[in-house]
Structures are given as structure tokens and as C-alpha cells.
């Protein structure tokens, strides 16, 4: 185990050049998530399009915009999430989210599926540092929350 396995080039690159950062209009839901142990904060907005009926999995993720403060892992993770989710269906991204969650909670024992994870596979090394798993998950948990909120709102209106 060494630092390089955690701070993969992809992660450092996303950290230094975050994709899609900044809060944008219009949006269907905005959530604010914090990591209480370290004080990292993330505000995330989601804009959905297309078919938002039923379980909403067919809906399209039109935009994920975010802003916040946090370590390289949490910020890079938000950037990767933005790239991975824009233009895909909620169902597709949920599948990535579930795979990512399993990887992060796997204590380094879970073999990552690169076909599903894409760039998010770079975070595999983080799973070996339990204290940092929450950093990697912050944006993904916020995204899931935002999707649920957006779908509820859309169905209600």
C-alpha cells in the first residue's frame, strides 16, 4: 500500500481541473450534504429530463452541478460523478452508484468492474483507507438523495 495507489493520476487531475463545478440553473432538486467528522460540505443540484414516471429509472440526467469544499478525494469524486452521469439515464447511473458503493465498502477486497465504473475505478485504492471512504462517497450519496427528491417533486407536480 502506498500513496500513489490512492492518489491516482485521474484523481489528482479531476481535483486540479474539476469538471462541471459550479451551481447551475435550472434544476429540479438541490441537496446539501456534509461529512460531520471532517467538515467537508457539498451542495449538489440535479436536472432531470424525459420520462420521470414510474420508478424514474428511465429519466435522463441532464445536468449535475455542484459546489463545495473538501479534500482531493471528495472533490475529484464529485467531478467524476458529473462526467459519468450527464446524459445518461437515472437507472444507468444508479447501477454505477451501487457498484461504486460496493467497491468503497469492500475494504479493498472487492474487485472493481471497470466496464461499469469508468473513471470511478480510480478510487479503488481509497477503499483501503476506511477514514477516507466517506470522502469518496459524499457526492454519490448527495446525487442519490437529489435524484429521489427530484423524482418526488416531479411526480407531485
Amino acid at each position: 500500500m502506498n500513496l500513489e495507489s490512492m492518489y491516482q493520476e485521474i484523481i489528482l487531475d479531476h481535483y486540479k481541473h474539476p469538471q462541471g463545478r459550479g451551481l447551475r440553473e435550472p434544476y429540479d432538486a438541490e441537496v446539501h450534504h456534509v461529512n460531520p467528522t471532517c467538515g467537508d460540505e457539498l451542495t449538489l443540484r440535479i436536472r432531470l429530463a424525459g420520462d420521470t414516471t414510474g420508478d424514474g429509472r428511465a429519466a435522463l440526467v441532464q445536468d449535475v452541478s455542484y459546489d463545495g469544499e473538501g479534500c482531493s478525494i471528495s472533490q475529484a469524486s464529485a467531478s467524476v460523478l458529473h462526467e459519468l452521469s450527464a446524459g445518461r439515464t437515472v437507472g444507468d447511473v444508479l447501477a454505477v452508484q451501487e457498484e461504486f458503493l460496493a467497491l468503497m465498502q469492500g475494504r479493498g477486497q472487492v474487485e472493481p468492474d471497470e466496464d461499469v465504473l469508468g473513471d470511478a475505478v480510480a478510487f479503488a485504492g481509497v477503499a483501503k483507507y476506511p477514514a477516507r471512504v466517506k470522502c469518496a462517497l459524499l457526492a454519490w450519496m448527495a446525487w442519490k438523495d437529489a435524484v429521489a427528491t427530484a423524482l418526488t417533486t416531479k411526480v407531485a407536480t
Binding site: M1, N2, L3, M6, Y7, L12, T37, C38, G39, D40, E41, E69, G70, C71, S72, I73, Q75, Y129, R132, C135
Partner: protein
């Protein structure tokens, strides 16, 4: 080796930079701490700089707990058998020595599970008294001092640890009292120009003795005088002072003082509350049950005098015995030149190390210390930020070098907000740290800057 500085110079690259002052013989002290000989992260020597979170334990403390369980274990203050007598004697003798450390008589020392619980015990005296008074329940004589009404004020400071902030927010929520706070200055001191926050409606002033983030030692006398002038009680969070400097509760002129065992070489699971006896007597119980009663009937109960009133259930006996051993250990320390002993020797050692750390970190471009940059009224907590690298990432790189520090807001989130910082890196020093640990810290910080490409 006759010179204290010489005996500590090992591992330090530049002898001219070795701190002056009365240091402990660190090599000898370190030999008493089994954990310090282990390695971390693939064979790195352990550089433990997180004693502000929890300290390591000397063999004497571990032995005291083990011997208690091997030879004397029994429930204290119960039973007439020999083991119960021995366990009770050990428990009460530790209470005496722990009290003596801060200049307090036995009957003013209350044991809790940690300092957080000790502070809550005082906070609950206010909300419980207020709730009982609201429907005319029986209260001890003098309980009026603990009764709050809407419009009354509780004053804290902006540099409090959550443990001395959140309980008071809760008291306000339950009683309708208002929380006010004394702000901090840009250079990390309490703003004494704003002591007027303490006013005629102030009932309690709760403050820290030494900030766990900034290292600032607060001007307790000035704050206590302002509190006295309006008849308010003073609660002092001494978690970062009692382990590190001589503290005398009478000299401080406060009413309550809380500290934790695990930050002063003792076990976890033991915190200490000191309170003036007449105030403890006027307080309703906190936790209730066995051991804390005087008389129990189905219709109701009366309560034991302090400190037993506040020690419900079988207490954390081995932990108290262990803390007693930790106090003995601290009292037995001598500066290497033999001129200082006990807590004075500990304070002098940390003062020298802190000065050295501040000086060394000041020499690293891109590193900014949050808190006083000089050692006047300042203890050994050194928090800093590294420009361009988040504190978590700094901590990760340091950990990779075997340097264990704390990162985050250190349970002082409002203070971090005040300075516009999400998180800091904090190094804290104790009796087993020497200049070589500061050197390792500085080298690891430089390595971190290189790793993230922000080195100047």
C-alpha cells in the same frame, strides 16, 4: 549526558535549532510507553503527534489496571468482603491523588465517563433544576442558582470544543435561556474588549482553559472577574490544560472544572468534574440509580451527598485506578536538568517544543499556523493549513510517513468557520515527544507539498 538539550538532539539535523529550555529526558520517557516502539504503514517509525485527541499510556498505567483486575476487583462502596474493601480503598485513594493534582479536596471530585459527560453533568443541573422548579418539586437548598428563565443568558466563547458548546445550546433550548458568546480576535486570542457580552442576565460563563485548536490559554482570571461581578458561575473546560500544566482550582477562581483521563496518560472511560462543594450540594442528580441514593421508597427517593450523588451505578473503577497511576507518573517526571518536577516540568517541556515547532513551521513557505504565532499564554496544540492542499490530504501524506496528526475541525466547527477554514492539520505534543518529532513533522509537510506539486 548532562545537558537536556544535548540528550534530545538526536535526529535533529541542525543542532543550532534544537530548542532551548528545560526539556524532559525524552528517551527515558519513551521507554515507558510500549506503543511507541511499534511501527506503522509498512515499517515506518511511529511519530505520534495526536495527544490532544488522546494520549498514549505508560506501562505503569496499564499495570495498575491489570493488577486491579488480577488482585482487587470488586464492586466499590458495596459489600463487606475483603476485595470490596480493597477495591474501595484503591478507588478512593485515586480520587485523593487526582484531586490533589488540581488542588481539590476528595469530596469535590466527581467521576464521569469522560469530560464531555462531566460538562453535561453541570449543564443538566441547570435544565433539571429548571424543570423541577417549574412544578414545585423538592430541590436542595441553594438550587435557585441553577434555575433558568427566558431572558437569562449563558455565555460561552467562540473557541469552544463542541463538548462545551452543544450542552449549553441544549440547556437554552430546554429553558428558554439565550446563548451568547465572546468572540475571538484574528490572531487567535479571546477578545477581551468584548467581555461586555457578560451582563446582568448572565447565569453561567462556560469557557475553555486552553483551545484544543489554537493552543491559546485563555485569560480565565479576567473572564471570571467579569462573571463574578454579575453573580454568574464559571465552568472551565480544562481538558487541554490539566494534562499539560500546573492547575490549581482555587487559584483559578472558577466554580466547575472538567478534564479527561485519557488525555493525561490515563485510560479511556474516565472523566473528572471538580465543583465547589456548596454548589455540588445544591445540584440535583444527573444519572440516577444505585449508589447515589440516601433513602428509597416506592413513592420517591432522597439522594446521597456529593460526590456519590453524581456517581450512579458501579463506577469505572479500574479506569479511576489507572488514572491515579497516570497522575503519579506525571508527578514523578523531572526535567532532564533536574530543576523542575511534575506538571511544571511537563509545561516547560511542551513550551520548548511548541516554540521549536512554531519556529520550524514558520520556515516552510505555504504553511500558515492558525492561532498565536508566539508562545505567550500558549500551549502545545499547533494547527496549520498548507496552501493548495486540503487538510485531509496533508494528513494522509503525513500518515504515509508515520506522522500521526489530527485533521478536520477538531470538534470546533464554529471556530473554523470564524477563520474561514474548513479544516486544519493539528499537531499536539506531550511528554514523550521530542524535537526529532517536530523535525519529522516538518519533513513530512515538505514531502506533502512536493507530492501535491505546491512546494514553493
Amino acid at each position: 549526558m548532562t545537558s537536556s538539550t544535548a540528550s534530545l538532539a538526536r535526529g535533529s539535523g541542525d543542532p543550532a535549532r534544537v530548542p532551548s529550555g528545560r526539556l524532559l529526558d525524552v528517551a527515558r520517557v519513551r521507554a515507558d510507553f510500549p506503543i511507541l516502539s511499534r511501527t506503522v504503514r509498512d515499517g515506518r517509525a511511529l511519530v505520534y503527534l495526536d495527544s490532544g485527541a488522546t494520549s498514549q499510556k505508560p506501562a505503569a498505567v496499564l499495570d495498575a489496571e491489570r493488577v486491579f483486575y488480577e488482585r482487587h476487583n470488586a464492586a466499590v462502596h458495596r459489600g463487606a468482603h475483603q476485595l470490596a474493601e480493597e477495591a474501595t480503598d484503591l478507588y478512593e485513594s485515586a480520587r485523593s491523588r487526582i484531586g490533589a493534582l488540581v488542588g481539590a479536596p476528595d469530596n469535590e471530585i466527581v467521576f464521569a465517563k469522560n469530560a464531555t459527560e462531566a460538562l453535561n453533568l453541570v449543564a443538566y443541573a441547570y435544565s433539571n433544576t429548571t424543570a423541577k422548579a417549574a412544578h414545585g418539586a423538592d430541590l436542595p437548598p441553594g438550587a435557585e442558582r441553577f434555575r433558568l428563565a427566558p431572558g437569562d443568558e449563558i455565555v460561552v466563547t467562540e473557541m469552544e470544543h463542541h463538548a462545551n458548546l452543544v450542552p449549553w445550546q441544549e440547556v437554552c433550548d430546554k429553558t428558554g435561556a439565550t446563548l451568547r458568546w465572546i468572540p475571538v480576535t484574528d490572531d487567535g486570542r479571546l477578545d477581551l474588549d468584548r467581555l461586555d457580552v457578560i451582563g446582568p442576565r448572565t447565569k453561567v460563563v462556560a469557557l475553555t482553559h486552553q483551545s484544543n485548536v489554537l493552543g491559546t490559554i485563555t485569560p480565565v482570571a479576567a473572564v471570571a472577574a467579569a462573571a463574578r461581578a454579575v453573580g454568574a458561575l464559571v465552568v472551565l473546560d480544562a481538558c487541554q490544560s490539566v494534562p499539560h500544566m500546573p492547575v490549581d482550582v482555587r487559584e483559578l477562581d472558577v466554580d466547575f472544572l472538567a478534564f479527561s483521563g485519557h488525555k493525561m496518560l490515563g485510560p479511556t472511560g474516565i472523566g473528572v468534574l471538580w465543583g465547589r462543594y456548596e454548589l455540588l450540594e445544591a445540584m440535583p442528580p444527573f444519572l440516577t440509580g444505585g449508589s447515589m441514593i440516601e433513602l428509597v421508597r416506592m413513592e420517591g427517593s432522597t439522594f446521597a451527598p456529593p460526590p456519590q450523588r453524581f456517581e450512579a451505578g458501579v463506577p469505572m473503577t479500574a479506569q479511576v485506578v489507572g488514572l491515579g497511576a497516570a497522575v503519579d507518573y506525571l508527578q514523578g517526571l523531572r526535567s532532564a536538568d533536574g530543576t523542575l518536577s511534575g506538571m511544571a516540568a511537563v509545561a516547560a517541556h511542551e513550551h520548548a517544543l511548541t516554540a521549536y515547532a512554531l519556529e520550524q513551521l514558520a520556515g516552510v513557505p505555504g504553511v500558515r499556523v492558525v492561532g498565536p504565532r508566539d508562545t505567550a499564554s500558549r500551549g502545545g496544540a499547533v494547527s496549520f493549513v498548507v496552501d493548495g492542499v486540503h487538510a485531509h490530504d496533508v494528513g494522509q501524506v503525513l500518515d504515509d510517513q508515520g506522522v500521526e496528526v489530527r485533521v478536520g475541525h477538531h470538534c470546533a466547527w464554529p471556530l473554523h468557520r470564524r477563520y474561514g477554514i474548513a479544516a486544519t492539520v493539528r499537531a499536539t505534543f506531550y511528554v514523550y515527544n521530542g524535537p526529532q518529532d517536530v523535525d519529522a513533522l516538518v519533513a513530512a509537510v515538505r514531502h506533502c507539498q512536493e507530492f501535491f506539486g505546491v512546494a514553493a
